[in-house]
Symmetry: D2
Subunit: 385 residues, 4 copies
């Protein structure tokens, strides 16, 4: 048996605050009663504040993958074409899901070490003179690489191309951890989920929808029922749901939204930036390579770290696990080559310093060559910022 706290730094699910876990363990209530309706209205209003939208949202008992499916099922019909910015493992999975729903997926292949390029999006749309592309699919924060897309610029690229494609954005691992503006950035459908910046266990997915997305849905989309927006929006107006909601996760969501309100979103975001920068100081000091090569696109949510050729990143993860810390594995192309460290959610300076120190111990114990002193460099960063 190991002693002390476990540091859950796979970049999501993030460490769920005890306060939120207590909330999800409250007794279940009648989901058709007034007490529940108040809960429903509270969480919908709170999510809209975090998403920065005045429009509608739909909230599902589902994982984020369900959110992807909901976005596609409501806005696209079998045979429709979509443009996918394929910048990492999760973007790739989303594209696969789209194909299984008989959508045609045109991919802008990325190197999995940078964010999508708005110019490439604009170029691809410009070439689509017959307007076959019905949607652009972008992953805001690619959790497999730690690269953050510039969603606003992608919106501008679509507009500059005078193209009618809807903008669908996966904000699963970014929402609540870094700036996001559903309305302000002109996103048509945002997909997100509970287990990252919202500091909840997995099990809730949701979409935010622009009026144009709703229109598209009303008149089209694929056959659907569970994911259908229309009954969801109608029910949500009174705080209810078209089928049994995941009541206890909603308790947790209400509590997590309160916590974000108490700290203030701006403070939350600057905390994430500061911890990402401190982590970067450590990685650079260790003379290890950061997965995301595009300096300006480095994510405040997580940092992907490459181990030198000839070494196995999973050895570092095993050594970390012995120290009571879970690091994220390299996924897809990066399997064995990278580990990922989350610095998102319910987190503070001492936790970050424990984490970075623990990684330095794990590097040492797993025989990965590195320049000692990275944890000290992170400390120096926090000291001076």
């Amino acid at each position: 048996m190991s002693s002390g706290w476990h540091f859950l730094q796979i970049p999501g699910p993030s460490n769920v605050p005890e306060r939120v876990r207590r909330a999800i363990s409250e007794p279940v209530i009648d989901h058709r009663g007034e007490e529940f309706a108040q809960l429903g209205r509270d969480v919908i209003a709170g999510l809209k504040r975090v998403l920065k939208t005045d429009h509608t949202i739909a909230l599902y008992p589902a994982s984020g993958t369900g959110g992807w499916e909901a976005a596609l099922a409501n806005t696209l019909a079998p045979g429709d074409s979509v443009l996918l910015c394929e910048n990492g493992y999760f973007a790739t999975l989303w594209g696969d899901l789209a194909e299984r729903h008989r959508l045609k997926v045109k991919r802008i292949a990325g190197d999995w070490r940078s964010a999508p390029d708005p110019e490439q999006v604009q170029a691809a749309l410009a070439k689509d003179t017959s307007r076959l592309l019905k949607a652009v699919l972008v992953t805001h924060n690619e959790t497999s690489t730690g690269a953050l897309a510039d969603v606003k610029s992608i919106r501008e690229a679509i507009d500059d191309a005078h193209h009618s494609a809807l903008l669908l954005v996966d904000a699963i691992s970014s929402l609540g951890s870094t700036e996001y503006e559903h309305d302000g950035w002109g996103v048509d459908v945002t997909i997100s989920a509970s287990q990252k910046g919202l500091m909840l266990p997995p099990g809730l997915a949701f979409t935010a929808m622009s009026p144009r997305a709703i229109d598209t849905s009303t008149n089209g989309g694929s056959p659907r029922s569970y994911w259908d927006w229309a009954p969801m929006i109608a029910a949500n107006e009174t705080g209810s749901f078209p089928y049994t909601p995941a009541t206890n996760l909603l308790y947790g969501l209400r509590e997590a939204l309160r916590m974000l309100d108490e700290e203030g979103l701006e403070h939350v975001f600057s905390r994430h930036r500061r911890h990402a920068a401190a982590t970067l100081s450590a990685v650079e000091h260790w003379q290890l390579e950061v997965a995301c090569t595009d300096v300006s696109a480095r994510s405040p949510v997580l940092t992907g770290v490459l181990v030198p050729p000839g070494h196995d990143a999973n050895d570092v993860r095993r050594a970390a696990l012995d120290l009571n810390m879970s690091l994220g594995a390299g996924l897809g192309q990066l399997a064995g080559k990278a580990f990922r460290v989350g610095h998102l959610g319910y987190f503070n300076d001492l936790m970050l310093l424990g984490v970075v120190s623990g990684i330095e111990l794990a590097l040492s114990r797993s025989g990965v060559p590195h320049n000692p002193g990275g944890a000290d460099a992170a400390l120096r960063h926090l000291e001076s910022h």
Copy 2:
């Protein structure tokens, strides 16, 4: 503020044991680690014991409605016809969902006061000489009426008609509360969910599949991804899931399965039968009408109670809520005419006697005419059984 325990007797979500709620509030773990894999294998094995199946299951972060969709999407293609036993509100909703997925639904209309008639099923199948019907959809325990279908006889009816239709059974509110045998009764797809006899909050749905259902799925079905059985079955073999699972609800599921094991399923079932009989004694003593007129089909899970014409069943529910008890509303055709009382899940004699006594108080306070002494009749029943 009201004092004391709240009696949650809407017939599901049922009262979640504190032990289960504590389990769901444990810290999240890495869903790609070995500790999680053990959890995954444990809950899959446990569900198979409760379902009495040696075949495969698929477990989703979803509500029961998602389970309905999963069953249909894997086994039926748009344009296929299905035979629906429409014996209540939830059966009707399932049929609507099927139509939204572009299935043709042939209905055997019920009176919402009894269970499906196997003979009618056999007759309908016999008439389907061109074998257009691909599946028979049956709700085992119709939660809106308190009528329990004889699934085994329906299987025999299909067999007697020498028809190839798959048998799809909604066991959402029956599983864990009354006898159910996925393999033994020849069910092709069983759909169930967490929040009834399994004593969990809502948020998990699952299906059990016969080899024939799996075959049908492999070669057909509708476009699907979230609900697709193939990757689910593949992942489950190692205790993992194809996308982020609802970890904390799985903790609760493991604990609830342990509790069912400790009490013993046979004991659980006989407890439910005994409490249903005691409740019936009360209702009959009150000279109120039981929603389910078919005496042999009365459910051990819940009892629907009709109020006399000219009275509003929701007045009884409001009076009960003042007493710190939630009763289920009449649904659909029964709205305002019936209330429903659950006697399922984590429950015992004293709770039942408190509930029946509370209903008697609520009847009195809401001015619903009744013969006093029903709670005493329930006590006499328990005394002598």
Copy 3:
């Protein structure tokens, strides 16, 4: 394994609300920090409201027995005489404790079936012409018998005797469940504890002190340290304690005090009276004897019930335990002859009806002769009150 809630009706510890138990499971904080100081001030202020005193209190990590000792050690010196109203098991224990501290105990023996008689107190004091008696010890609610003393009249009896004895009152099982006025009734030292009307687990005891009690303590009392009021009062002024406090029980106390505030003490008291009356209806209908023969002194906190000669009250308790209910044993003289049922604390109509119904089942199963229908009588009482 038994299913469903356990009904804890030993009359104290009473059923602790989950809300309070959650509070006591919060992380420990620095007991020398400002956050703790606020907690300390909150609970002291809240206890003073419940005790109806504007004077000082002292709050100990201890059981109620420690509170008895604190009261004696601060106000009495070895060799002092006290007058004890010995009306039950707990009063007797208090007297024994006094003797172990070398106090001389003059007893007014009771029959253990009624409350202390103020006239006897007055007569005893009148005879004490040399004023040797330094204190009168009264148990407000004798938990072993269910008899409630008239503290106000005993104060008047002391005054009428023009005697200087301090009035020391054990309000352990009455505080928070029935009217109590430390200042208004002229009590010098009130002793109470956490596990009865305050709805907490055991582990906290406290005393409220009149200015005269404090004076007596300042100039006298027995050698003492842990129980000494002076450093406690000094520390409490800033919300701190002279030694490490039981932080987590204090969290629970704060929460329980909030709950009493939310319901309103008057409402709490009338709820207890109503439930005591309903219980009495049941006992009388069963044609069993109530332990407390003095009708006007019957306690709103608990009811003692005698079984007929030749029967063992512990058989009833064992049958109740099989039904998932703990009843209190007969204590001392009443061992085997009586069982006790608490109707205090976090409780409501449905719980009471479950409890009374359960007792009727237990009487039946243990072969104790009784007139059936007591639970129904309790229901009728609640229906009409």
Copy 4:
């Protein structure tokens, strides 16, 4: 609102594991029932294993101060003399408590920066030719200074002086964190409490007693009741207590004892030694002074750190609190001059590195001069040990 975990490093109460806090929030049970008796027997047996004694113990709802009082009240009578090793703040408080109980306290004054000197004890006893000294009072781990007494050598000193004084040892902050042998070291009374190495909230105190201590108690001691060993020992034999026990803290104790068993006491102790050594590396690197000047007596439980003259240690504590870490204040003579950091209880490498890093940040922010790199030195220590 601050984000992330709070690091509670006042050296006790230590950080209580969530597992233990969950245990203490379980529903209360009948303390006179068999389920409780099993709990009582379990915790008594478990405490005896940790104390390494085959003799009796007494377990009180009380803080550690109550344990001091229990030890004295059972073995010493007013007017008796005791020899006190006064090596810090808590030893001094114990002496004051003894005097309030009218014991004569002969003090061996320490410099509050080292452990008691067995030779001085032997010399003092040798001078006591008329054998007036009835007990030697030693604080095993002085929590105010971080010095660990050599109890075994003090026992030998008493034996070498052929003196009959009982050996009374305060093991409040050492038990469960470092080697301790009640029987093996010949201790007569060990006093300990719940909130340090046992990883519980405060509220439980206990004593272990040698047969000679019991004999002394049987025939003497001071007037007592709450603290009296005789009824405690008698009741404990059946797992019960002479008055209402603090049931929920006992739940926590059972769970904490299980955790110590699972990790293994030897492993727990070596973990503490390792973390103390790593902390020492940091302090020495910072070129700050360790409170305990006697290198061989430095405590594995906590480290006291002096700030240079002209600086206020409480400024460091305030800066730490802003970082979500509570450090212990300097007490008594060391107020404002020292801060204390606990590395006891439920703790691991990453927590220690977070703590040491946080102290380095706090030193920097509070302007206390120090050589940067202490956290890195601690990391190096852990890397190589």
